[in-house]
Point group: C2
Chain length 373, copies 2
């Protein structure tokens, strides 16, 4: 890791800031666009010219140079991560020997930083989210970093734009001394649609995008206190990793838990979590229906094309076409259709079934079709 | 052309029998399976291992050896016709310099035969129809050939299995002396669905499959009498063709007319046409809905696959998938869907829109996409 800031419009103040990007998850609901070997975060999903990972790195530039960014990823993706972000120092890619869910990924980075930069502030940012208003994001993040210096963990809560049951929620509690900052009353798992409607109407709930900031010390303290089954071995694993020793056996024995469950929920109950609400055009493009929406296609309107639009010939049709095979694609009289045309696999479904793609992929895996998954 | 029969279970009697297969039409409604360069009749549409043309040739074997078969086709298809039916003598492929509709194709063969075999009986059989009961077909054809020896033209009328508005109809008149043979009262163009219901309920109408038999003399007489604008130049064209002279200019000036309109309708009105009704599992697989039906897929039932079924993974879906690209095809929650997946073009539509594929292809041609049409 780099050991010093090198210019730029840094707003994190005098304390060192590091950004960690857990880059896991396969984006199964976006198959066959997203594959296990080239998942969502490595794809130029929105046609910006960059993958979501590269967009994430660029978005953090006012706060962290590339040598102040760590990516936690799986062995299968290390090579493409390094190819896409060539300036990333060798030591800044932490490779998980096997997937162990988000708590292990967060904890690994936190304990590695605790060894090297114990006084730093660190933020965690998903590799595969979309932000359309970078300035607003930067403003909210600056507030979160400032708030984190008090020793609290600080999450960024997304002001909901609809009653979605696809996200967890953060319920705000009493106001903090800092303007625009609140205590977290609780983290709530993905609710029913009905509960989501109630949450949104109340004005007291935010979407949990998994973005949070804290001092390295506060984060490892929370692991030690609320999840010693992870914290204890992770401290050892971090030391081995930095020494260049093998840690795969210790890693394989880690419990596989979500960070929210293992650390965030008990830490919030202990009064350790703050939330900074924000609106910055955040999206988790998790399935083809949300991809169509992110590409500007309103429900029931024309056909949204991701890829080579000149090859797509819709007639009396609506939906989304992902065209990456180079073939001519003709649609006739199909509505809210999803056609994902890649060189070796084709998916035809409807927006209504966008969430069910995950189950189909799991079924195909069970049938031994790993080669195209 | 061959000049003598060579064994086999011939049932045509002592008079020579020739079979003519007009092999035109592009099967546009079956795009992108059927292409202008490789139309329906050259495809193994039903997975029998043979193209429809080759199946047609084989079906005629008890009546005509390959050297007693003539194929009338366009320049673009001559090579594949010869490749698929290698035993066809050089002179037995009549190549049209340009498409001129069915009357010119039928007349060309008739006037060529009139020069070479004026005493023969000749039958005309579409290159792209499907027959599932060959024995029944042979029995009906033997009756038609017998009836033709009286000097009448004899069509084979398909006993309708449903009130289809996709076919022309033949109305039967009074019985002929031969058992199972009737006079044709009139040929009726494709009716409305309502009229089709009436036709089928009456029991007096048959589908017009364009199959007919006659002496060479009777056919050219009818051209001379009812369509001299075709007959006169075609006599000249046939002579030039047999002499190896160019006839493309004369051909280009021929009127482009359907045989039914130019000859059959007036000949029937003149009392010259007989009909032999038959049921032999005849199908004109004209679009993807009828292809699904021919492949055994009932409406609303599972997914019918043409091609590599092992590559197709339907879930909660119904319809037809044509899989010729070798790719994995996954369907999820789509119903009565039509997916035609070829190496360079993909069509997604529904059975309901099967007939409209023709219009889409015409639109794409207007847009300059001939390369994939």
């Amino acid at each position: 890791m780099g050991e010093s800031k090198s210019g730029g419009a840094k707003t994190a103040g005098s304390q060192s800031f590091y950004a960690v990007i857990p880059a896991g998850g396969s984006g199964t609901r976006l198959w066959p666009l997203s594959r296990s070997q080239e998942p969502k975060f490595l794809l130029d999903l929105l046609g910006t010219g960059n993958s979501l990972l590269v967009d994430t790195v660029k978005r953090l530039a006012p706060f962290a140079n590339v040598d102040e960014i760590m990516v936690v990823t799986g062995e299968a993706h290390e090579k493409l991560v390094r190819t896409q972000v060539p300036a990333l120092p060798l030591a800044n890619v932490l490779v998980e020997p096997s997937p162990k869910n988000s708590a292990a990924a967060v904890g690994l980075a936190a304990y590695v930083l605790a060894e090297s930069f114990p006084d730093a502030v660190v933020g965690f940012f998903a590799a595969d989210h979309v932000v359309s208003d970078d300035d607003a994001f930067h403003s909210v993040l600056a507030t979160a970093i400032e708030a984190a210096k008090s020793g609290h963990l600080v999450t960024i809560g997304i002001s909901p734009t609809e009653p979605s049951s696809a996200f967890g929620y953060i319920k705000k509690g009493k106001a903090n001394d800092l303007s625009g900052v609140f205590h977290v009353q609780e983290f709530v798992e993905k609710p029913s649609f009905k509960d989501a409607e109630r949450f949104v109407a109340s004005g007291n709930y935010f979407w949990n995008a998994g973005i949070f900031v804290g001092t390295v010390q506060a984060i490892v303290d929370s692991f030690d206190k609320f999840s010693p089954a992870l914290g204890t071995p992770l401290r050892d694993i971090a030391k081995r990793l930095l020494a260049g020793d093998d840690f795969s056996e210790l890693w394989s024995e880690l419990p596989s838990q979500a960070f929210d469950y293992a650390v965030a929920e008990p830490a919030a109950a202990d009064g350790r979590f703050l939330v900074v609400p924000g609106s910055f055009g955040w999206r988790d493009v998790g399935d083809f229906a949300s991809l169509a929406q992110a590409q500007g296609g309103a429900a029931g309107s024309e056909v949204t094309v991701v890829g080579d639009a000149a090859k797509v010939h819709p007639r009396d049709s609506t939906g989304i076409v992902v065209a990456t095979s180079g073939r001519i694609i003709t649609l006739l009289g199909v509505h809210d259709i999803v056609v994902v045309d890649t060189p070796d696999a084709l998916l035809v479904t409807t927006k209504e079934h966008a969430q069910d793609v995950k189950q189909v992929v799991e079924q195909m895996r069970a049938e031994g079709l790993d080669g195209v998954l």
